[in-house]
């Protein structure tokens, strides 16, 4: 009993530690890749090719003055960044990294990830309201509307693959793809999922909550120091979580090509690297959507597509399988 608890605790510490470190270095990777896409060098000063930049940034944020606006609701203002960060990390408790390496398995795994990640919006709404600033509140409203809408498409796009897998447990979903990845059976679902994931993580074509030209910085305008860093870390942790779900549901999780024998975790990390590169690539390429365009794309284009996908999958499954 106690040995089990210690083992579980060590696993949690390992996963959390790795994620925090990787998340810090994702900021470096993002600046570097965008820099090179735009024919710049990116960070170069701290360490070899700027490799120590994230550590310098972290120290800077840690030592910065932590400002709480005098008209802010202090308790909610302090809790808000925590409410954003905690769900972002909690989802990793059920995400699959390898056949034998995961923190825990639940029967409702995928559903749990959707539920917990939907809680991040609370932190954003709380931050926007508690700051007592118009820009923050407007940013929070936009964010809440966007995340609530796109959460629906995210969930609906996953139903098709789930019908094929016949389980909500990540282990079973991955095992169902040992022959063919679901992305080939469910290309439509994958497209809808990917667009919804971009919107859910507030990434660039959909980063309206923090549109600088209109809202200063959106819901985190009034935040500084470590509290601001929390929002930042949560955003990257969410990107990694969403990529992991994408890999598990559409790209066969830890499974690879049989001809090249690599451990499952390496396959997983390779797929993760490719997906995260695509995320950053999109950020460097696309302009920002307007708010009405965002809603129109969501409800008039992606929602019917997701429903159509479920209908077709059900029909094919009923007729041929």
């Amino acid at each position: 009993m106690i040995a089990e608890l210690i083992a579980a605790f060590l696993k949690i510490v390992l996963v959390l530690g790795t994620i925090s470190l990787v998340v810090a270095y994702l900021t470096y990777l993002e600046r570097k890749i965008i820099g090179h896409i735009q024919m710049r060098m990116g960070p170069m000063r701290v360490g070899w090719h700027g490799l120590l930049q994230p550590i310098a940034d972290g120290l800077k944020l840690f030592l910065k003055e932590d400002i709480i606006p005098s008209k802010a609701d202090k308790i909610v203002f302090v809790i808000a960044p925590i409410m954003v960060l905690v769900p972002a990390f909690v989802v990793y408790s059920v995400l699959p990294f390898d056949e034998n390496f995961y923190i825990t398995q639940v029967n409702v795994g995928l559903f749990l990830v959707l539920a917990v990640s939907s809680l991040g919006v609370f932190g954003i709404v709380m931050a926007g309201w508690a700051s007592n600033s118009k820009y923050s509140l407007l940013g929070a409203f936009r964010s809440a509307a966007q995340m609530l809408s796109y959460e629906i498409f995210l969930g609906f796009s996953l139903i098709g693959p789930l019908m094929l897998a016949g389980s909500l447990n990540f282990q079973n979903i991955v095992k169902a793809q040992s022959d063919v990845w679901f992305v080939f059976y469910q290309p439509l679902a994958f497209i809808v999922f990917f667009i919804a994931a971009l919107a859910e993580t507030n990434r660039i074509p959909f980063d309206l909550p923090e549109a600088e030209t209109e809202l200063v910085a959106g819901f985190h305008t009034e935040y500084s120091g470590m509290k601001f860093a929390f929002f930042f870390l949560a955003e990257y942790a969410n990107i990694m979580a969403v990529s992991t779900v994408c890999i598990a549901v559409f790209f066969g999780g830890w499974g690879g090509i049989d001809a090249i024998p690599l451990p499952g975790i390496v396959w997983y990390l390779l797929k993760m690297a490719v997906l995260i590169f695509v995320f950053i690539w999109i950020r460097a390429t696309l302009p920002r959507y307007r708010y009405d365009q965002l809603m129109r794309v969501g409800w008039k284009f992606m929602f019917p597509l997701a429903i159509l996908n479920i209908f077709v999958t059900g029909l094919v499954k009923f007729l041929f399988l």
């Binding site: 609701d73 308790i75 909610v76 639940v106 029967n107 409702v108 559903f111 749990l112 959707l114 539920a115 917990v116 939907s118 809680l119 919006v121 609370f122 709404v125 709380m126 309201w129 509140l137 929070a140 409203f141 809440a144 509307a145 609530l148 959460e151 389980s167 909500l168």
Partner: protein, 171 residues
């Protein structure tokens, strides 16, 4: 262990919901209500109803409460802080609560003739594997008709809401 967690969650539910009704700031009350939902979903997990626990978080906490917060923030929440909160009707409240408590003791806890469902009820952790499948099959076989009626009702309510909202915009 499970009993310990149950008492923890139960204490959380009671404490958080007491704070919900006593806070004068509506936003704080709404946020504490979310906390209450979390503790409730914890109790559902302990009862082996994983699916229900997740739905509780996904729909009530993640969906409905966000919309609540949304609409509370759009009105002027500061006004509520200055309003008188209690109606000095504690006598009636106490009487009604006592009746309810007696009822719970009589019917549920087995003080009198308890319902058969509650007799011999025990808290078990995860003894029902895959209650998603069980729930799905029972919803689409035994309870198909009520399920469909409920979904048509929801659809009608949704269309009604859109029609009502659209009319005010046109004016």
């Amino acid at each position: 262990m499970e009993l310990l967690f149950f008492y923890l969650f139960a204490a959380g539910i009671i404490g958080a919901s007491l704070l919900v009704v006593t806070r004068s700031n509506v936003i704080h009350a709404a946020l504490l209500l979310v906390l209450t939902f979390f503790f409730m979903s914890g109790v559902f997990v302990l009862a082996g109803a994983e699916f229900l626990a997740v739905v509780q978080v996904l729909l009530y906490a993640g969906g409905i409460m966000v919309l609540y917060l949304f609409s509370i923030m759009l009105m002027n929440a500061e006004v509520s802080v200055r309003l008188r909160q209690f109606h000095r009707q504690s006598f009636f409240t106490i009487v009604v609560s006592l009746i309810l408590a007696a009822e719970i003791w009589w019917k549920v806890l087995g003080g009198g003739a308890a319902y058969p469902a509650f007799k011999g009820f025990s808290w078990t952790l995860g003894t029902t594997p895959g209650n998603v499948e069980a729930l799905g099959s029972i919803l689409y076989t035994k309870y198909l008709f009520p399920f469909e009626v409920a979904s048509i009702l929801l659809l009608a309510a949704m269309i009604g809401a859109i029609v009502l909202a659209k009319r005010t915009i046109d004016r």
